[in-house]
């Protein structure tokens, strides 16, 4: 036997326990995919979502079970520290809620239940890999495993042109982001000679490569690639279109989980690997953060589609959360963790209400679908009100504590002006958040007249007869002033109508929004869809936002655990 054959190869030491969440998700995805092939429709529509939920719960539980163990896994390719574990739980939680929102959706039916939920599980797996990555190769692997299923998920509502357009747009723009990221990772390896985060940190800490063009280009390209995924301006342009076209449960999942994964890897890469060069990247990232807050908050104001509005709002929120990275302190990481949890809950509550109303009204995600909700459906009206107020940062909600925490972290490390930017951004955001609240609670003029004049369910005698009443309705819907102004708004209108037509068999009605508004008033009571799980998601998330807003201590403890186990700050 010669020397080569006699040599024993050193095999990697695999910590199966620490890999538990990933293994659970992989096995679950395979099982779900196979279950989706069964002939019985009942198995496909009921068993598949149940198995997906079970997988996510098991993965989340396995993550909770190893809290505080902070293990390096697979030759330090992954690090299952508290940040990674908290994010894993968050992704699984968002996944479970997404499954609940998808149950009665058309998208899984169009694309096949097995495929839809398997893709969701694989996307969660990619997020876990990304959030725990501690090596440049793992970063890219996680990034792709997360992205590719999402491209497909966006296009799963096959009968809707908007959904296909959304998937294609996301694929093309996401590929540009991936390319930037990959190029940046290659340059970073070229500049430091290492793919491991700790080794990179050592090379950067040595100081020789500070100011090196190769190194700085690497940082810029990596930040660009990740900014695409976190929809940080000016790399956010895909966000409104993709969010609007994608099936709403997928939008909800993308909005919360993708953003959390992207920010988790941004904080790990910048606050661990290249924290030695903080003076080089922090000013650039601070500029991006402020631009992002401005673009997101201004962009959201003119939107009549609530999904587009939430897309811009998510851009603005990404700007706030970047502050937690820029300060590069333990406090910043803690604030970011807290804010991410709050962000997931707030957005999930809002998206659940949109999902519910989309199915009930046939108005899509237009803000007019929420009109008069306060009087008719308090179980939906309160969650979206709480979500909007929390996103704006009102006291007694989690959003308030999240912003306080971020501002505290900013001021603490000499970035007070970023704290000011957060405050200014939040006050700007009140314009569009409160517009939704107003639509929910203020009775529209016609409906109050109609309520006085007619028995419920009959066609309102005044609607359409009075030009003034129609004008008021138009202004309140917010569609008309924005409609002709910008090309984005008009394309939004186009896709919205297409979707309405595709979804609502009985409401085929190309004459536009005037008729739609009528249908809103007349048809609202007729289309009461039974969907307790969606209402439950909305109510539970809103309740959590309130509860953790009044008693934030448990979450503060979690954030502190995450911060203490993270990185090597002083």
């Amino acid at each position: 036997m010669n020397a080569i054959l006699a040599a024993t190869v050193k095999t990697p030491d695999i910590d199966w326990g620490a890999l538990g969440p990933l293994i659970a998700l992989t096995v679950g995805a395979c099982v779900v995919l196979m279950t989706g092939l069964l002939r019985s429709p009942a198995a496909r529509t009921n068993l598949v979502p149940a198995l997906a939920t079970l997988t996510l719960i098991v993965a989340g539980a396995l993550a909770i079970g190893q809290w505080d163990s902070n293990a390096d896994v697979l030759e330090e390719a992954l690090r299952m520290d508290n940040l990674a574990l908290a994010m894993t739980v968050l992704f699984c939680f968002a996944g479970v809620l997404t499954v609940a929102l998808s149950l009665r959706d058309l998208a899984p039916r169009d694309a096949g239940h097995g495929e839809y939920y398997a893709l969701l599980l694989v996307a969660v797996m990619g997020m876990v890999v990304l959030a725990s990555a501690q090596n440049l190769v793992t970063v890219f692997l996680g990034f792709e495993v997360l992205s590719i299923p999402l491209y497909v998920l966006c296009a799963t509502h096959l009968s809707s042109e908007g959904s296909l357009e959304s998937g294609l747009k996301y694929l093309i723009i996401g590929s540009v982001g991936s390319a930037c990221l990959l190029y940046g990772l290659a340059l970073l390896y070229g500049a430091t000679g290492a793919t491991d985060f700790d080794a990179i940190a050592q090379a950067v800490g040595g100081g020789e490569i500070r100011g090196d063009v190769l190194f700085l280009s690497a940082l810029a390209l990596i930040l660009t690639g990740l900014a695409f995924k976190a929809s940080v301006a000016p790399f956010h342009q895909w966000t409104p279109d993709v969010y609007e076209g994608a099936p709403t449960p997928v939008t909800a999942f993308m909005a919360v989980a993708t953003k959390a994964a992207a920010l988790a890897i941004i904080v790990r890469l910048f606050d661990v690997a290249v924290v030695g060069a903080v003076d080089d990247w922090a000013p650039a990232m601070a500029a991006l953060a402020v631009i992002t807050m401005l673009v997101g908050n201004v962009g959201a104001i003119g939107q009549s589609s609530v999904k587009r509005m939430l897309a811009y709002s998510s851009v603005a929120q990404a700007g706030y959360m970047l502050v937690g990275v820029i300060v590069s302190t333990r406090l910043g990481v803690q604030a970011l963790t807290f804010y991410l949890v709050a962000y997931v809950l707030m957005n999930m509550a809002a998206f659940a209400v949109i999902v519910a109303r989309e199915r009930e009204t046939g108005l899509g995600d237009d803000i007019s679908a929420l009109r008069g909700l306060g009087a008719e459906r308090p179980t939906l009206a309160w969650p979206i009100t709480i979500a909007m107020l929390a996103l704006a940062g009102f006291p007694a909600t989690m959003g308030f504590w999240g912003k306080i925490y971020l501002i505290d972290a900013a001021v603490d490390n000499g970035w007070a002006w970023l704290g000011v930017a957060i405050v200014l951004g939040s006050s700007l955001s009140l314009v569009y958040y409160l517009r939704v609240v107003a639509a929910v609670w203020m009775p529209s003029l016609e409906s109050s007249v109609a309520v006085a004049a007619r028995p419920a369910g009959a066609r309102p005698i005044m609607a359409g007869a009075s030009p003034e009443a129609d004008d008021v309705a138009d202004t309140r819907a917010g569609a008309v002033p924005a409609g002709g102004d910008t090309p984005t708004a008009s394309t939004a209108r186009g896709t919205h109508e297409e979707r309405t037509d595709a979804d609502i068999g009985d409401g085929r009605d190309p004459s536009g929004r005037d008729r739609a508004a009528d249908r809103d008033h007349v048809g609202r009571d007729h289309r009461h869809v039974h969907q307790p799980e969606v209402v439950l998601v909305a109510v539970a998330c809103a309740a959590a936002v309130l509860l953790l807003g009044v008693f934030p201590d448990p979450l503060f403890d979690v954030a502190r655990d995450v911060g203490e186990a993270f990185g090597n700050f002083d």
């Binding site: 054959l5 006699a6 040599a7 024993t8 190869v9 095999t11 992989t26 395979c30 995919l33 196979m34 092939l37 090196d212 063009v213 190769l214």
Partner: protein, 118 residues
């Protein structure tokens, strides 16, 4: 740092220069004969100018893609096969996991009818 990229730069400039020169010279100096076969991209494959309603079988692409997919995946087994004894039980476990994942993909493709020629 920039200096070390000089060879690459020279390569790019020379490469594009020579390429453009050949393309331009060919157009200027070459004789032009119109033969039907010259407008074809290759001897085989789809015609280069397709009509509006032209249809081509998607099955071919599907099968080709699946072939490449499974073909390449099997390639990963070779390194393990060469060093089987050195890897020991580890190789066995890894290979089983790998093959099971492949099997899931295969069953999926099969049951969804992607292997049937339509």
């Amino acid at each position: 740092m920039i200096r070390s990229y000089l060879p690459a730069l020279v390569f790019v400039v020379l490469g594009s220069g020579v390429g453009i020169a050949f393309a331009v010279l060919n157009g200027l100096l070459g004789r032009k004969r119109a033969v039907a076969a010259k407008s074809d991209p290759y001897e085989c494959g789809l015609p280069s100018d397709v009509q509006n309603g032209f249809r081509f079988g998607i099955s071919f692409y599907l099968i080709a893609m699946l072939f490449i997919l499974f073909d390449i995946e099997v390639l990963f087994l070779y390194p393990v096969a060469i060093q089987l004894e050195a890897f020991g039980v580890f190789a066995l476990v890894e290979t089983i996991i790998f093959v099971v994942l492949l099997m899931v993909a295969f069953v999926y493709v099969w049951r969804r009818g992607a292997l049937e020629w339509k």
